[in-house]
Symmetry: none
Subunit: 206 residues, 4 copies
């Protein structure tokens, strides 16, 4: 059993207080406008205390980003690990990401507040772009996926996932299923109707 002193508990507690405050502040006013004082002000702590836990504003941002990445990435990896088909691989990745994105919408908002920060880098890190690329590579080698440019596919999937998550956030949409299906279908089979089936489908009422 792990021993944890009062002090350590407090220490972690304060760190959490600051991270939560930062998430709120970044989400509300954006990374750029937010100041360390704004963050600490949303807390019962004192200015100086901030620096016992983080070295700078950048540092909290990074911590927030990494925290999210550490939560999300294993989920996505696990989904892909157990994938038996291209469908499992792609759909599992989107489903896990979007589910988490809905649960952690505040965190996503904080990391990519409108008119703010969120570089491609952030998205890649949070979603584990490198993991994804490697997993795609492996899947290709295992014959699970067709031979595509793994880096491009990983990038494209990250782009799709984040933009769709943003739309969901704007729509206050919590239903992950339809969004996931949209993403998966897009990546797996695209939007073009099969040449010969197209008319049939159209007449079928779609």
């Amino acid at each position: 059993m792990e021993f944890r002193s009062k002090r350590t508990q407090t220490k972690e507690h304060n760190r959490r207080l600051i991270l939560d405050a930062a998430r709120g502040v970044f989400g509300r006013q954006g990374y750029r406008t937010a100041t360390v004082r704004d963050i600490i002000g949303a807390t019962s702590l004192a200015t100086g205390t901030f620096y016992n836990y983080f070295r700078s504003k950048e540092d909290v941002y990074t911590a927030l980003r990494d925290e999210l990445a550490v939560e999300i990435r294993p989920l996505l990896r696990a989904e892909r690990k157990r994938a038996q088909s291209a469908d499992d691989f792609i759909a599992g990745t989107f489903r896990a990401f979007l589910t988490h994105a809905v649960q952690r919408s505040a965190s996503l908002a904080a990391l990519g507040a409108p008119e703010e920060h969120t570089s491609s880098g952030t998205r890649m890190i949070v979603m584990g772009g490198d993991d994804l690329r490697r997993d795609i590579q492996a899947a290709i080698e295992n014959g699970l996926l067709a031979d595509v440019d793994a880096e491009l596919l990983a990038a494209a999937m990250v782009g799709v996932a984040f933009e769709v998550a943003e739309i969901m956030r704007r729509r206050h949409q919590a239903d992950v299923n339809s969004a996931e299906r949209f993403c998966s279908e897009l990546v797996l089979r695209g939007i073009a109707l099969p040449a010969m089936t197209r008319q049939a489908t159209a007449s079928a009422g779609l």
Copy 2:
């Protein structure tokens, strides 16, 4: 023949000088770190002169973004206008965007410098996300595209285009064709192998 006084020439010239300097500075050191002084310092002008043309750093950023949007959006719209098929529609959009992205890689870099600014908002504006959504809607109504969620598709395409453009930038890749084909194929037909062909293909050595 257009008449233009010396004065007007200078005025427009200075505005351009500042915009170009800002592009370079943003691209090199990122939006956040860049100061108005850095920008004006990359120029032969005086501090105060900056404020004859722009109200703030934010303002130059916006101008840079809008300038790019004004260049790109009509190109994409034109491609879609003349599209006779889903393939034309999607491929034309990606080709035009990526071609321009390569030509204006400095501008893109300035707007979305690593670890910097570039929000979803910026991407949507530059690529004309709203135009795209409306054009998709119209294309669906005309039977050119299958019936999908236009907003999601527009978002997904923006996501794909920007992430792929970023990869190209990192790879110093100027060949638009293959990147465009990747994007178009992805969105049109996806990466899944046709069900029955999959085994055949696999055995074919892919």
Copy 3:
């Protein structure tokens, strides 16, 4: 008959335009906040033109003040010149000043905008404190006035006149007569009750 070229006319006209604009601007936003640009902006002239007529903002202020002084001071002097009694001397001074103050309330407001400039110096100059002191001195020597400290009396009268004018401005009061009578009575006979009551009251123990 005085000859005046077109140019001179224009020159004086522009000077006037600037002075009038400055009066309005000072009155509205106060001397301190007002900038040369604000002044010239309330004009159809260009920035540079300002400096053909005035050396600085201070300079316009001074011109405005002196213009008012040049109007007011001779009037007050004239009143005192023709005074046959202490009453004429005092009442004439107040009447002339307050009459002019009402007519030129915008100028007074410009010179002494609330929370602004207007030093004792300005008041003294506008009302001609030195003239007043000398005239009082002369009047004392001539036996028209009792032997008082001329400098103090001049100062006191300036203080009374300006504060009362300010009250009139705040009350939007254009009736000079009652205000003038108040000032004159105060300075000439004070507010104490008549002599015989005075003793009675005094003996009454107050």
Copy 4:
């Protein structure tokens, strides 16, 4: 005995340092020319520290003014409270004001530095013009003072007091008595010669 931590002491001490420095700087170079840097430069503190105590230069000015007002106004009110006669009322007010004005000549100079700030508003606030008006009103109702326009009388007294204080400052005169007597006599009985002498004097050739 009052307990006060080291920290609190320092805090109040710094506020005082800044106020004192501001008084000196305003008095010496005038409000307008004075910069926050000048003020903080007359101190051992750092620039930023200024803003821990005051929001702007205007703010220090206001604090200086209010501090003086808080000192002076109760003194004047007390004098008037205990007044048994019109003479007590008027003379007490002037005596208390001028006494304090001499003691705090630096403060007065700071607030109304020649060619500077000092609006009617400042004078009214420092001397408590509203208190004075109300007290006059009450005194009239109690029969202590003749029935005059209380607002005008208050304004006039403020005008007299400040102009006379200014003269005293210029004369380096510390003798309050004669100045007070001048003001009181002026307001109470005026400068006019007793009625019968007046004609005699007039016929003497003025």
